[in-house]
Amino acid sequence: MDERELIARAKAGDRAAMGELYETHCRRVYTVVRRLVGDDHLAEDLSQEAWVRAFEKLDLFRGEAAFGTWIYRLATNVALNRLRRSSKRDRVEASANLPRIVNAPDDMVVNRRVLSLALDRLPPGYRKVLVLHDVEGWTHEEIAQSLNCSAGTSKSQLHKARARMREMIASPGADEGGARGEARL
């Protein structure tokens, strides 16, 4: 059954069709939400929220674009909206010292687990720009439109976020101060 038919059946309330749509796109949706919010439990809740909203409002989707793009965008908005709500707490977190994460000895290839851990520990304001740009491949203009800021602000946040990542990811034996030239990625 092609996706257009699945969507038509899902609009009529067919749970099996909804399940198939979910199966096809659940990983992409969960991934972007999880990376943006940096927390398993919150991601689980928001990913569910995005799907429930999508199926509740499926009548708004007319089938002229990819359903995957539509649900991806919806899920991203759900996650970003949640991050906006906790912006007061973000500011406190952003000023706190960041923990350092020691990379594997053979760190010429960046360890994915370490990278994911560092992403989770980034202040949310930095994390969302870094995830959207470097992980998800959005342009600064797209990020600016979504976060209601300028493209310049998006760029500035991105470079600060990368610098924070570099500060956090250290090689074994690097000084705690994380001075330039001593920490290696």
Binding site: R28, R53, E64, N77, V110, R162, A163
Partner: protein, 248 residues
Amino acid sequence: MRPGSDGSIEMSEHLSIERISAFLDEPWADREAERHLETCDECRAESERLSRMRMALSALGELDPPANEWAKIEARLGAVPAMSGVTPRARPGLGRRLLSNGPLQAAAALALFAGGVLAGLQFTSGTGSPAGGVSPATGELPAVVSAGGEDRAVQNVLSEIEELRAPLRSVSDEGEAGSGDVAADFDAIQAARLAARLDGLIQAMQERLEGAPDDPFASAYLIELMDERARLAEAIERSVYDRRTVAW
């Protein structure tokens, strides 16, 4: 980076990580950094580390959702009475917190109705500002349709959404924090104004989608707007209902 007195980089200094990061993305925009990197081993090494990190980030794979996610989604869908249109989700107690100021409740209901009608007229006619004699309770309506180009219209809508989120969020946050009466900060008239503005924005987004069906950006915001509107309407309705129950 600590530049020299003439703004140039001295060889004893190094580029900041942020500047190297910017150079990686737009090498044509910083010739001075390019020259420095050609001669500074340490900065070049840092540039390579950053570049590897950037590549590793772009290659991060997809994650598996929790195994029982679909079952939970189905359970939540089971509690939804309708599959289309505006489906309010209950927020117990929000109505009381939102509109605890009794004398304003009836005004809120009336203003909400008037606001909706005016918003509809506003965007149907395409004028940018309300006609004279508009009740203050309805507020100023956004000129998103008549603002010019498509991009301008979307930008206006986004700005409006951001403005609207703040008071709605403050009500929600107050409630989550367990505080008491928030009517002093967010009264019924304000709720009605928000409702009217939300109506206008919803209509503007719907009109935009007429031209670009399934625009995921507009769709996502329309869904958010409809959810906010549903919550607000439910809160006002519940408040009025509670008042009637008490009166009878």
